[in-house]
């Protein structure tokens, strides 16, 4: 049973179509990479999957007992204002909010979960630091920790490595791969890094105006675009 099934989705803003005929499904434990050039509608697709936006047409369904409250999300850009006073701990904890309850404070278990997650992300020593004073890579880890607090099931990541240096990028990919492998968390990730997508992902969705691809990574390598990208990626390494 699939966790997420999209059929013939059409995406756009104010009635203008950005991408259409998007059909795919995600099963538990999948690692789906969404690729495509700038402006092809990847972030729009992610926002639609998160119910932040309605599709122009088509259907999207959760299955396998998945609900909105079981999803974690790492945005492409967070619109956090420069002067927002928030400590790392407060931000990570805020990921637990969808667990419900009308208490004004977080429960012991939630605090424990936040602590464990920060440990896993290697940001325990930053717990009391102010978020806006961290480096881009550290901030990204904090937001990933928050996303993890919000979910045990599905993690949606929109360009999690944008702006990170090669070393931190690699660490980030390894971290995400480990979450997928060891904790069985389903990963849906937007990325421009085709080489990494081919290395880590189990499935690939190529979003573009018309020609689309969805399927296992091995098959993607056989398509003309996949071949071209794979060769480009191979040259880079």
């Amino acid at each position: 049973m699939a966790q997420l099934i999209c059929k013939e989705l059409a995406l756009g803003y104010d009635g203008k179509t950005v991408a259409e005929h998007i059909s795919f499904q995600v099963n538990k434990g999948d690692y789906l990479c969404i690729v495509g050039e700038n402006g092809s509608g990847k972030s729009t697709l992610v926002k639609t999957l998160l119910h932040l936006k309605k599709p122009l047409s088509g259907t999207m369904e959760f299955g396998d007992g998945l609900t909105q409250k079981m999803i974690g999300y790492l945005p492409q850009q967070t619109v956090v204002q420069r002067d927002f006073p928030a400590s790392v701990k407060e931000i990570v904890l805020s990921g637990c909010l969808n667990r419900g309850g009308f208490r004004p404070f977080y429960s012991k278990e939630e605090k424990e979960l936040a602590r464990e997650t920060m440990e896993k992300m290697g940001i325990t020593h930053l717990a009391n630091r102010c978020y806006r004073e961290l480096s881009g890579g550290q901030q990204q880890r904090v937001l990933l920790a928050r996303a993890l607090c919000a979910t045990r099931e599905v993690l949606l990541l929109d360009e999690p490595v944008a702006g990170l240096d090669p070393k931190v990028t690699k660490e980030m990919y390894e971290l995400i791969a480990r979450l997928n492998r060891e904790d069985g968390i389903t990963i849906i990730m937007v990325s421009h890094d085709i080489a990494a997508a081919i290395r880590y992902a189990s499935h690939i969705l190529h979003v573009s105006r018309e020609p689309l691809f969805f399927g296992p990574t091995e098959d993607y390598l056989k398509t003309p675009t996949g071949k071209a990208f794979a060769e480009m990626g191979g040259e880079q390494e």
Partner: protein, 279 residues
């Protein structure tokens, strides 16, 4: 000292202290969220809307103009705040637009339809409160007390939600938290506080009470909880000191005295922030 105790024995002074401190507390709690959501000027903007509504009431020759002023202001506040981060026009811009627009239209309406009206008097009362803080009745104190308890309880119960929605509305929505609902809640309590406070102490003071304690606290503290607590403390202490000062310095207007104390606190906190940041 004896003189102060003597002042405090007057019920009017007691009322002023209670109302002043409670409003200061409520507005500082909301102030942090409002400043961070780019709605620092909401007090000012809403007072202009109230003025516009007053103009309409005047033209309609309503005897109790609150009947029209109150709902219009509350609805405006809700419409403004409800949209949150995803608004097409950002908070500061929409506020500025509304405030200037309402002022102009209100003035236009008054001049066209109600020539005899006492315009400067009404502008003054929306800016500085319809009554002086020293002439409050016990009913005013009750209204203010009930409102404050409501605001404080709501704030405590929904503290986590308020943080989440202020920090990152999209993440909250994406993970199944009903951000719209909480935005609406913030909007409603803000509207309530501002509209009630506007009538009691005037919009000038309420604007200052929203902005200053939050900004002062943000100079020094860098996590949300500390900022909220600190701004609540600053605000109540400053309100108390301001009222006492205006008693001692006979004739000093209470509102202005409170704002003056807040300015001093802000300067001190900026200095502390500088020294800490520079180490």
């Amino acid at each position: 000292m004896n003189q102060l105790l003597y002042f405090f024995s007057f019920p009017n002074v007691q009322y002023a202290l209670i109302v002043g401190v409670l409003i200061a507390l409520c507005s500082s709690l909301l102030g942090v969220t409002l400043v961070l959501k780019r709605f620092s000027f909401i007090g000012d903007g809403l007072s202009h809307v109230a003025f516009g509504a007053l103009a309409i009431a005047m033209v309609l020759k309503l005897t109790n103009d609150m009947l029209i002023v109150l709902p219009i202001t509350v609805v405006t506040a809700i419409l403004l705040l409800r949209t949150g981060q995803n608004a097409k026009i950002k908070g500061d811009a929409s506020l500025a637009m509304l405030s200037v627009g309402a002022l102009a239209l209100g003035y236009l309406i008054i001049n066209m339809f109600a020539k005899s009206a006492n315009i400067s008097g009404d502008v003054c009362s929306t800016l500085f409160g319809s009554t002086s803080i020293l002439t409050l009745s016990s009913a005013d104190v009750w209204i203010c007390g009930i409102m404050s308890v409501l605001v404080i309880v709501l704030f405590l119960v929904f503290y986590r939600q308020i943080f989440a929605v202020t920090f990152d509305e999209n993440f909250a929505t994406a993970t199944g938290v009903r951000a719209n609902l909480y935005n609406l809640l913030i909007a409603v309590i803000t509207a309530l506080v501002i509209v009630v406070a506007m009538n009691l102490v005037g919009s000038l003071l309420i604007s200052a009470l929203v902005i200053f304690p939050a900004l002062s606290a943000m100079r020094v503290f860098k996590n949300f909880k500390a900022v909220i607590l600190c701004s609540a403390v600053i605000s109540t202490v400053a309100a108390f000191l301001g009222i006492v000062l205006s008693m001692i310095g006979k004739g000093a207007p209470v509102g202005s005295a409170i704002v003056a104390v807040n300015i001093v606190v802000f300067l001190i906190f900026s200095l502390i922030g500088r020294i800490r940041g520079g180490k």
